[in-house]
Subunit: 368 residues, 4 copies
């Protein structure tokens, strides 16, 4: 019962992998924002399948249509409905799976939860579900760029055991990231990642990876203590993406091994504001943005669907060997880059609107 | 604006570190649950300061009072208000901090957000805020234990660079964990952790750590795709705890480095149900519990407040050296164990109630 | 920011009167419910324009398409997206209105709120917005009919100064109501209502009316004290319908003039349950259904758009005479009958699911 | 599960009639608002029992304590917990009721919903529950008065069959209303209302009444279409008050009998803004405030508890004669005046904050 995300900037997504269409309704987008389908299509194109030999061959153009909420090129402030039709659905590919829950996929848990077996393709537990997120996130991102100058950049920082250099302090540009099919931050990492993905393709296997994301330009003050802390909302947003297994803000798990004297970020004067000399906090302190770059990392497991035969059990508990057909990505992280950016945009836009309300509320007493 | 957590099992917390009282209101607890203050006090005692030489010397008994929602020893189904008075508040200790935001603490961001500087102790950005969570979580935990036999056990699995053996497959009992001031899973780890904490105490420093949590007995079917995935709600809950920097479900970041053939959890028949031979999924697939143990890890940074002098800047951006007084923990993880358990309990209870509604809703068609 | 309604049974609607399409996303519908487009179309047909000479001549077939959430004729438990295209939009009709806010319409307030003037037809402040509600309500209604035997029947009980006899104790059947274009409860009232509507049509005027609604078969126990009282949610749902100015549960305003000794509903034994001899409570006591029929009345003002010239002011405050074109209903209540039923269904389904969760939660102590 | 009200300005209430205490937690109050217990006590004093011979003799001072969220006389922006102890609870008075559900009270429905019989006094279905609302509303009201100059005034406009003159266009001052124990708008109405209440007291009976409320100074633009329309939120807020059976905005039910030509409010230029010559809209069009006074009426039934013997049935369905003891009001409307004002304040403050966020969001395109 929770395909709705956000409080003031809110999105409701819908659509199964092999149904008629996927999409979303965005409620609470500020009015008078210039918006066209092209603004949204750009991020969808970065997410869509078939971009390179490294991704699933499912052929979907993923053209978005705006059904409501926009008139004469600007948002009305009313709900924006976005629709993307499924054109290359092949539920038949999955027919053989009806009796065998794919290991580490959601077939078994969906059956347990809903009491039925959705034919094929995982229903909502499919990367196609993320189209609505990416479309909505593109709108949130545009608003924040125009209103605050916020920039959100994600890239692939690891594929399997190959890791790119830490670029959190000097993040690549989005154009740079898009130069590489793997969405690596540099040519050398791209080559390493590509080699890894080609190796798993050859082995009819799959591989996991890590995405790093940096959000620049958010002012100090975003995030709602105590349960709506900015890092809490980001963590929830990221862990809601299919295949995500971990989230770190700033120093993350490495920070757990450090001492306070080495971990604390001392304050220093920066242009026109108080900043910090280091950023192990990842741009957030006490759940509230501090004006530094918001930096986090997201771990993705290897896709569950692999071409190799797997020993497992069917729904009746009988041992079987599963040989999956269907089309899938050997590694999701290249295409997940715009998904991470979009979910970050949705979280930040919602936090921004809540803080704008507070700032405009003007308690009587003098602001410090 | 978000001190409220949960949808059906909902808690609103309140209270500053140095105000009159802290507490919470629990709304949506099932009626007719046997409940007394002693049920709640037990977890509060595990959280309270001054338990050992390894924690803050602030002397608080943290006695809880039930103000409403319980009559004749059972819950009424109405809101349960819980109150804990602050008795050893010493806001004066923090007077010298008025002009200097503590590095990596929330002084600066609270001022940026709310436009004022809360005297002392960080207001809501204090470990005392977590009393309301622990009290509410104790109720959620009791309900799930009686209704489903769910057991939630957390322990300290790392302090600084010292790590305990991986006990996720054979978690310790809560009584075992409580045997050690450090809340280690075994005597050897306790000794290592204790040495580390004593070292940072001597150095007037602080140190981070990791807590591992296992929830047993949750049936398959809990968690609400797509934004309310069980791991997403757990991640949000954990990242909302002060000082948390990272969250991993199942294989976590290690899983990102693996191949699918090695990572997938094959299905096998278990007593009366379909289970998995391994548990790299951490008990959750597609956002829904699969009946295996729900396992996750939470990274805590070192406490920001340290006794050593720190070079930093005051609110005006002028360089200063800060020497903190006030009372603080050298390492929060021992006392954070019940906080992690309680937040997990709140997430699971809410997911359980939502799934109970769905199961009782009985669509007409035959359940698979 | 609030085109989303409900907690467990939740609907997000979208669409402007003169945009491309209108529709909704239903989240939280129980899985395995048999559902086809025909189930939904039936209620849409009762709402659509052009049903008779008494309604707006706007020609819309209002054919609904299910985009997601249903497979092989049953619901999946995932979001159900429903789409209805606008085919007879004529924004040009309203061009002359650009500078003149229509009296008692939402042109002025939408401009004040969103900072722009939506071309034509009122955007979201249009009866077309209610298509999403009716479509969603049809699903809620079907579920409750199958699961609980709940029946929801609304009819027109007043048009202008003409009032039908009070039928709350013996409500008409839906088929009976549909026999009359006016949706009166009987032939005599139909004739009176028809005369009134024809009179205002002739006078290029409009007229208000009252709808009475009875929900039968809801068991005792639905409704969530204290802010989610069943009558509170019904009141909110009804007042959210365009043109509604009043709501009464049970005795309503008449009850305010009575004494307790005459107003109280004494308890009596009914078949297998405790019931009340009278029903001035309207089926709800303390915010919770008591097992009697839930009865309420809803007042609709006359439509703001009339053919007569009106003295008013333009956006600059200059006196003008407005002569509206555009197509509109002389009286909305006949077509509003399925809207009232649908909003009632959405409220009841949400309350039902919340109570199902509570009942399944099973506190340990014996139920009285 | 819904003792929480509001989105940005949010209150969670707690407390049973005969428990230890009642109160609330206010989350989302703007920071830096000057606030003391005296600000809140003033409205509580207007609500408390025992103010005159016309109200229940239960003796409660209802002193409020602020537990959190306020420091040095200003709000911190963090949750404000407010506590009022119950001192004169006498659950014993209700012992005889254990087996007999009071007619038109909530005894039966609470038992049906929660599966237990709360001892005495109705638990949450008691006027005492409203203390938390009034306390929270006093804060909302103060903020809106300082920030926008909003004034909220309610008065008793009918008791039984006695009606006061319509004062919506020239509302009395609050001080004027408080001059009369009945909270009538003038001396003549007070005398009539007093006579009516004294008559029912003498007859050991009770009587209903109507409260009219006017909110002045709200700018155009508040209210969230389509489900969060301002009149919808007001209706929900009012119907959530114990004993309320009806709600009307502006022309209300009378408007249902009118023609559009007579009902429409023509626009006219007012000081510095566009206004309407009449106000049958009640200050709201299309769910959004239009800058005129927001006017509504609320119908209260006669209190269910009366001194006269009543023929009814016990929980087993056996006929009994009930003679209630316990203390109760013969007519709730005098004391309900501050409750209506407070709920209106909570609705408006929440709408105001949401609109402030939108206005500060600044779409790029020029505002009309």
């Amino acid at each position: 019962m929770s395909s709705v995300f956000g409080i003031l900037f809110r999105v409701a997504t819908f659509g199964e992998s092999h149904g008629r269409a996927v999409g979303c309704v965005v409620d609470g987008c500020p009015p008078r924002l210039p918006l066209s389908e092209a603004d949204i299509q750009a991020q969808l194109d970065r997410r869509r399948p078939g971009q390179s030999a490294l991704t699933t061959p499912r052929g979907e153009a993923d053209r978005v249509t705006i059904l409501s909420g926009v008139q004469d090129g600007v948002t009305l402030g009313t709900p924006i409905a976005l629709l993307v039709e499924n054109r290359d659905a092949r539920p038949g590919d999955y027919a053989s799976l009806a009796d065998i829950p794919r290991p580490s996929h959601a077939d078994f848990t969906y059956a347990a939860k809903y009491g039925l077996r959705a034919r094929s393709g995982g229903g909502r537990a499919s990367a196609r579900e993320t189209i609505g997120r990416v479309a909505a996130g593109a709108i949130a991102e545009k608003w924040m760029r125009l209103r605050f100058g916020v920039e959100i950049i994600a890239w692939v920082s690891a594929v399997g055991e190959r890791e790119a250099p830490d670029r959190r302090e000097q993040p690549p540009m989005r154009a740079e990231v898009d130069r590489y099919d793997t969405r690596a931050p540099d040519a050398e990492s791209d080559a390493a990642f590509r080699a890894e993905i080609e190796a798993v393709l050859a082995a009819r296997d799959s591989v996991g990876g890590v995405i790093t994301c940096v959000c620049r330009g958010a002012p100090a003050g975003w995030g709602e203590p105590v349960f709506g802390k900015l890092e809490a909302e980001l963590a929830r947003a990221m862990l809601s993406i299919p295949a995500v297994k971990g989230f770190e803000i700033g120093s993350g798990f490495a920070g757990a091994h450090m001492r306070g004297s080495a971990h604390n970020d001392p304050f220093v004067r920066k242009e026109g504001r108080l900043g910090t000399a280091t950023n192990r906090s990842g741009g957030i302190q006490g759940g509230i943005s501090n004006g530094e770059d918001i930096c986090f990392r997201v771990a993705f497991k290897p896709p569950a669907t692999i071409g190799q035969p797997q020993k497992t059990a069917n729904f009746n508990g009988e041992p079987v060997v599963l040989e999956a057909k269907g089309r899938h990505d050997p590694c999701v992280v290249p295409r997940a880059v715009p998904i991470v950016e979009s979910m970050a945009a949705l979280v930040l836009a919602d936090a921004a609107l809540q803080q704008l309300a507070r700032e405009a509320a003007g308690g009587d007493a003098r602001r410090v």
